[in-house]
């Protein structure tokens, strides 16, 4: 049986842990709110950029103008790579640098693992036992870029080394901070090392609910962008907006003079060349902001339940402490009465 001293020590230790987890919860709550507001602040920009792109595409034929817009059909024609299975994919996995965030990283990694499994054609002839991934074969088709220490470590351990592993995207960063990631993605795509680029990140829906999503970054599609812009608004909470109807350039310009064509300065091609990378950057930036908000809220929830658990633990320890104390008192009483009886006898 545990002595009084050890129980007291345990209670003290648990109290300390509780204090720490409670502090972490408070910090995460503040950070979550901040990163959410940063993500939302980027929304007007994304909407305007999207409507600009829309008007631009309406006025110019965009085919073959920019490598980012290259479609699947053009690709297969060019590269003579027939089926989907032979497409080379690039996957950007966005996780956090730090742990203690509940299921946040696990969920992303699970989804990434699933994505990799689905896209790399599994050869049924090979027995899938032993946990020995044929990384040389699969590695040809799918390349990984990881954001955050956790994803980098995870995939390195499993013998699927990411070609670029980025860390340090902790908190609400500047747009310039996504530059290395943007470089890596666009370089791989333009040079043809990857035919499609996907990103897996956690979309922030509300403080209690986050969802892991897979989005196609390249080749560029207006739908993909639109989906992302819609995803910026959380479902509930302080920043939720009831009206999810985004005034896209589509509706707006359709009722105005349709015959009026846009003028371009210097030229449509040059503008497209400049705006597409900017949009891609914004998209990447945004994915990271969402992931940040999700990370913080996930940590907040995890820390809250840790605090609750510590409270429960302290309660049960206190009960056993009292029981032990009472037992000691009873023992002492029995000894005293036993002793006095022996004397008087």
């Amino acid at each position: 049986m545990a002595t009084l001293r050890t129980i007291r020590l345990r209670i003290k230790g648990t109290k300390n842990i509780k204090q720490i987890t409670r502090a972490m919860e408070a910090v995460s709550a503040v950070k979550m709110r901040k990163s959410q507001s940063v993500a939302l602040a980027a929304r007007p920009y994304a909407i305007s950029a999207l409507s600009l792109l829309h008007n631009l595409k309406r006025s110019v034929s965009t085919a073959n103008v920019h490598p980012f817009l290259r479609t699947d059909a053009e690709q297969t024609r060019k590269g003579e790579r027939g089926t989907d299975a032979e497409k080379r994919m690039m996957l950007v996995v966005v996780t956090s640098d730090k742990g203690l965030a509940g299921p946040f990283n696990t969920n992303v990694l699970k989804k990434a693992e699933q994505f990799v499994k689905n896209t790399t054609t599994p050869s049924p002839a090979l027995p899938q036992s032993g946990g020995h991934p044929s990384s040389t074969e699969e590695g040809k088709k799918i390349t990984l870029v990881t954001v955050g220490k956790k994803a980098g470590e995870y995939f390195s351990r499993r013998g699927r080394k990411p070609i670029v592993a980025l860390t340090g995207y902790g908190d609400y960063g500047e747009l310039a901070e996504v530059e290395p990631l943007f470089e890596a993605v666009s370089e791989a795509f333009v040079s043809g090392k990857a035919d499609e680029v996907f990103v897996i990140y956690t979309n922030f829906l509300s403080a209690m609910k986050q969802e892991v999503v897979v989005r196609k970054l390249l080749p560029f599609s207006e739908e993909g962008l639109e989906e992302m812009v819609r995803g910026i608004v959380p479902e509930r909470g302080r920043f939720a907006i009831k009206d999810t109807n985004i005034p896209m350039g589509t509706n707006e310009t359709n009722n105005t003079n349709k015959s009026r064509e846009y003028l371009f300065e210097p030229s449509p091609k040059e503008i497209l060349e400049a705006i597409l990378p900017a949009l891609l950057k914004v998209q990447i930036y945004h994915a990271i902001l969402e992931a940040n908000a999700s990370e913080h809220s996930s940590r907040m929830v995890a820390m809250r339940s840790a605090t609750d658990n510590a409270g429960e633990l302290i309660k049960s320890y206190t009960v056993s402490l009292n029981k032990a104390r009472q037992a000691a008192i009873n023992k002492e009483l029995a000894e005293i009465t036993g002793g006095s009886e022996a004397l008087s006898a």
């Binding site: 007007p44 003079n257 914004v282």
Partner: protein, 85 residues
């Protein structure tokens, strides 16, 4: 409001400016231009420089914004949107 230009300057962090003005002078890659109400629809790439917005009889005008580059769009209903890069 038809003789005015709605100027909206948006950066990734915030909406910097959103108001009606009489004229806007901005640095594009092809040279500085001044936009008046009823300008033809235009999309342009902005260069580094100073953006000036003017409005008669208002305080603090002309307003000047130092910009690092970006994009601008003028719609047919005299709306000027500036995206700072």
């Amino acid at each position: 409001m038809s003789s005015e230009l709605q100027l909206k300057i948006i950066s990734l962090k915030e909406v910097v400016y959103n108001d009606y003005v009489d004229s806007v002078t901005l640095p594009t890659k092809a040279g500085e231009i001044t936009v008046l109400p009823h300008h033809a629809p235009l999309i342009s790439h902005l260069a580094k420089g100073t953006l000036r917005a003017r409005r008669r009889g208002s305080e603090g005008h002309p307003k000047a914004f130092d910009i690092q580059g970006g994009f601008m769009e003028i719609t047919s209903n005299s709306r000027l949107t500036v995206l700072l890069g």
